[in-house]
Symmetry: C3
Subunit: 200 residues, 3 copies
Amino acid sequence: MELQYALELTGTFVFAISGALAIREKEHDLFGAGFTGFITAIGGGTLRDILLNSYPLVWIGNVQVLYAILAGVLAAFIFPNFLSRLRKTFFLFDTLGIGFFTVLGVEKALSLGVRPEIAAIMGMFSAVMGGVIRDTLTNEIPILFRKEIYASACLAGAVVYLVLNYFGLERNYNLLISMSLIISIRLIAMKYKLSLPRLD
Amino acid sequence: MELQYALELTGTFVFAISGALAIREKEHDLFGAGFTGFITAIGGGTLRDILLNSYPLVWIGNVQVLYAILAGVLAAFIFPNFLSRLRKTFFLFDTLGIGFFTVLGVEKALSLGVRPEIAAIMGMFSAVMGGVIRDTLTNEIPILFRKEIYASACLAGAVVYLVLNYFGLERNYNLLISMSLIISIRLIAMKYKLSLPRLD
Amino acid sequence: MELQYALELTGTFVFAISGALAIREKEHDLFGAGFTGFITAIGGGTLRDILLNSYPLVWIGNVQVLYAILAGVLAAFIFPNFLSRLRKTFFLFDTLGIGFFTVLGVEKALSLGVRPEIAAIMGMFSAVMGGVIRDTLTNEIPILFRKEIYASACLAGAVVYLVLNYFGLERNYNLLISMSLIISIRLIAMKYKLSLPRLD
């Protein structure tokens, strides 16, 4: 359980960095970048917990999460060029992050007693809605609507987790399989520029 | 009461279809269309229930609502051309839908003990905010701000419902009158391209 | 305490006016303007209270707040030219408003038992998120991301309030100092077009 908590803080830290750097090309000042990093890091989990009426919100009840975000924002301020050059590393971290937060979101929703269909949606929301809120606030087309497979990979992984969980697979194996699935779909989709068909 | 529930599921189904088809001309893939249909169908009621602290949210507590949405999204996927040709039929369904959901939203708010002024706002929110959230996420000018009378018709119907309710009119008559008012205002506004005056 | 309540209603009234007038140059009708005024006035406090799970929301539990908003919207409808000519006066009112609502938001969050770090964020959110939501809905770049120092002034004032509060300064002096700081930073930033550095 301590490994998981350390991973959560690390994931939050990475999401905050990538959020803050995401608006670097724009006219935004340091405060705007920090705000964007903050929203990116907390948005998905906050929406999930509001929808499920689970209070206190994680970053309000646990100040370490807030400090992980602040550390991410500060890192983006102090080393913007260094971190920007790590773009590929960050893409990898972000991909690990959405895999991780999806499965954690599914588990949290299940622990709150909702049906598996709802837990799948909540897992996906945990992973992607921070980025969606960030993009909406900064007048971008949300990442969800852009070309390559993204949120649908999270949804697929969430469903696989729930199916394997239903059949009684041990949690650690399940985590490994579901997260690997999300990460693989996302990496393959980016490499081969795969997207789902359009509606026409 | 069973008729009402059947109508609710039908309304949700129709809102999901029109939400999914709304982004057809865009670059969005099937997942984006499904997500948009989902948000359109649940957005208004979800916002109302969060503002009123009414949990569980309808689509989380009642899985049939979720399946009505999924059915609507699937229908939009399988028959996009057929459904798009029904544009006029959908406009009619959407108009029936906002009338119906406004009055239902007013009643739910009243049942939670809020003042009538708040219930009127909640009725309007139930009907229109799903579309507003959808438009905001997809970078459109929200339908609320476009030309023809739309949300104001819902607000007018909500106020009429509350006034007639105050004077003790029987519920079924009241539903019929208030919904008809919303639907008539909207249809007449579209036919004659009526809009409220601007602020100048 | 009665002075504070009168100030709150006045602040809400002013926020509603400036929200309604903010979209005057656009194609929006009276309803759109009223809706925008409403969202501007309630958005920040509503987001704060949802995040902190503090119900009923202020404008739902206290109908006088709702009427202050309606009065502001009506005033914008009846005297748009007169009020628009008061642009400078409104800028001043808005600046007083963000100072006032920041400190009030900090105090409300503290009274709900959260840590001071969270209270600082909630104070800033109370003051600025109504405008951010308004700008997002109307497809503007949120004021938060525009050039001159704005939300960061609120955050600075919130932190100062918390520090002075920690050291036991009497509340009235603290209010005066913290609000003056926010107002001064904002006025000086506008006069000399000061902005925080960018991330590069």
